[in-house]
Amino acid sequence: MTMKILAIIPAHNEENNIGAVIERLRRDAGGVDVLVVDDCSKDRTREVARHHGARVISLAVNLGIGGAVQTGFKYAVMKGYDVAVQVDADGQHDPTQIRELTRAIEGGSADVVIGSRYLQDRGYKTPVARRAGMLVFSWLTSVICRRKITDTTSGFRALNREVLSFFAEQYPVDFPDSEALIILHRKGFRIVEIPVTMCARSDGTSSIGLVKSFYYPYRSFLGILAALLRRER
């Protein structure tokens, strides 16, 4: 039995990237359905995505990447997909690796598969300060989850049906990084990492600015703390 796989692309003002990303997914990902969640873009993201043959869901208000991705999870649950893979709209994720991500889920040995940039050194460059911060959080997450996690901020993740149903109901939409993984671990889901190679950004710059680089660590600590204090439901 083949699995129904959905690629979820959260997109906010990505008209220059989205077309190529969709084309590559259709060509290289081996028959996955493509859903673009248009997060209230002001440009022609919606039209471009539709033109390239993707299913498009448009949000009336800007919810941010977490809220957009969660909309994709809800769609996947509604349409009965077995696996959903989150893919960035900027073209950094290599579609040929989607099958590698979903393999562990198809084999039944994992509920969540993270495409890690740091599990193997494959030449992905991160600014030193950001890398240091990431190391702190992956260490913290690894300790809490009692399992080595090298890339908590990776946006390249595959989730199975159970995780999708869970995240459709509750998802830490503001900063869905370490917090999401810890919540999953506490729910008893099995998290597996596999190494991935990143492509260069085709257009635009990273969404993380100066203010966010201070706010992010603070907010993440708070999120992890809240996740730990929350009682199992």
Binding site: V37, V56, I57, L59, A60
Partner: protein, 128 residues
């Protein structure tokens, strides 16, 4: 003792605030749910203005030096509670807003599918 005129003005203002809040609730400009703290506050203000023994007693009760600081203390506590309750309600509203936007987007997608199905097949069943 507080001069009679000052006391009268204080009572008058307190009563005006009370009436104004009730008026807003009556005209549905302020939901009953949100008016609870405000009604309590204005009722307490009337009491405080008309009965000077209350403040003196309160000051003695918590052992404060001056009744001014007692007013400031309770004022701050009230403002703090009010702000906190706003933040809680705001969080709830933001969450509901998110759910609503997501559901609307999904329904819109479904609607487009249905329309296309009708246009393509002339039938009324959803394409699948």
């Amino acid at each position: 003792m507080i001069p009679f005129r000052a006391k009268m003005i204080a009572v008058l203002v307190a009563v005006m605030i009370f009436v104004f809040i009730l008026h807003m609730v009556r005209r549905k400009k302020l939901k009953e749910e949100y008016s609870v703290l405000w009604v309590l506050l204005s009722a307490f203000l009337i009491l405080l203005a008309s009965w000077s023994g209350l403040l003196v007693g309160l000051t003695r009760l918590i052992g404060a030096q001056s009744s001014n600081s007692v007013i400031f203390f309770f004022g701050f506590v009230f403002v703090f509670l009010m702000l906190l309750s706003f933040t809680i309600r705001l969080s709830k509203a933001a969450d509901e807003n998110k759910e609503m936007a997501q559901r609307m987007a999904l329904l819109e997608g479904e609607l487009e599918d249905l329309k296309e199905g009708v246009r393509a097949g002339g039938g009324t069943t959803a394409p699948e």
